[in-house]
Symmetry: C2
Subunit: 156 residues, 2 copies
DNA sequence: TCCTTGTTGCAAGTTCATTGCAAATACCAT
DNA sequence: ATGGTATTTGCAATGAACTTGCAACAAGGA
């Protein structure tokens, strides 16, 4: 019996239910919905924290999904281009993390210095500040990144 | 004539005048003030923008200061440990930048997406927000990073 | 000036990420 | 359902930033 094939077919149906619009987004740019992209998207959907390429790779390995780390990177590249995924570069982590946009609001993160737990922050206090900065610097502000670090309740 | 030696001796005197407290900081932790550390510190002092290890290396090469890139990294490590230098990891640059603390106030940066110009921001709007976040998340907030990106006046 | 110990340069190694290319595969047309 | 073709994948190699091991060097106190 071919385990991989089983996952392919079941995974496909499952995903099309969860995110029926995603294949369209891909096809609209001449791309294809593949077994590996299904697997990555499904993982992102059920993952709460922003994940790194290596974490995606490891997790899929555990789930017996055959995928190469290179493919993970390429998939993230595509999903970023399509605007389906946000890339985060948290302070001094030395790697990139990714999270599904999927209609979520603009938000920031706080990360525990001990255990690495990353929690979403609901507020963004920077709307007014942005105008001030544009006046001060004469820049046209396009984006901002904000991140807090500290100790999570468990690690205090 | 030995250009390097000339720079060494003159550089030494110049630096001791500019920053008489630095050799003490080093010696207090059993470290030594060396020709290369002099050169790196002098460069940081006269540089306005946060600089990367490679930029430090290249600049010193141009100035005919003999130094290895490895030594630049090790020097930045020491200066960080002594609290004399801040390490910045700006969004999606994929490298670290450094700036002298030297009594400067807490501040953030804005970076031009086109030319890479980095400008200091004088305000930090996050003091009040931090308390709110501590209430919301039950974290103890230790630090934050904030960075804006956009288009500088030249590149608009 | 000597001696100890911290520092440097060189080479090699790590880690995260990208690229080239042949083989595999999605999926549209038939 | 099948075949054709353009996209995607895996493997191996490469790149970029940074770190580590070690012998030679040099700072600075005795």
């Amino acid at each position: 019996m071919n385990l991989q094939q089983g996952i392919t077919h079941k995974g496909l149906n499952l995903l099309l239910k969860l995110e029926p619009n995603i294949p369209k987004d891909l096809r609209a740019t001449g791309r294809r919905m593949t077994r590996t992209r299904q697997a990555v998207l499904a993982l992102l959907q059920r993952t709460r924290q922003p994940v790194s390429a290596n974490e995606i790779f490891d997790q899929l390995q555990e789930e017996k999904v055959a995928i190469d780390l290179v493919t993970v990177y390429r998939t993230m590249h595509v999903l970023k281009e399509l605007g389906m995924v946000l890339q985060l570069d948290l302070h001094q982590e030395g790697l990139s993390r990714y999270e599904l946009k999927e209609g979520r609001e603009h938000h920031h993160h706080i990360r525990c210095q001990i255990c690495g737990l990353i929690v979403d922050l609901l507020l963004c206090p920077l709307k007014k500040v942005t105008k001030l900065i544009e006046q001060q610097t004469q820049f046209i502000v396009d984006d901002h990144t904000l991140e807090f670090t500290g100790l999570c309740p468990q690690c205090q």
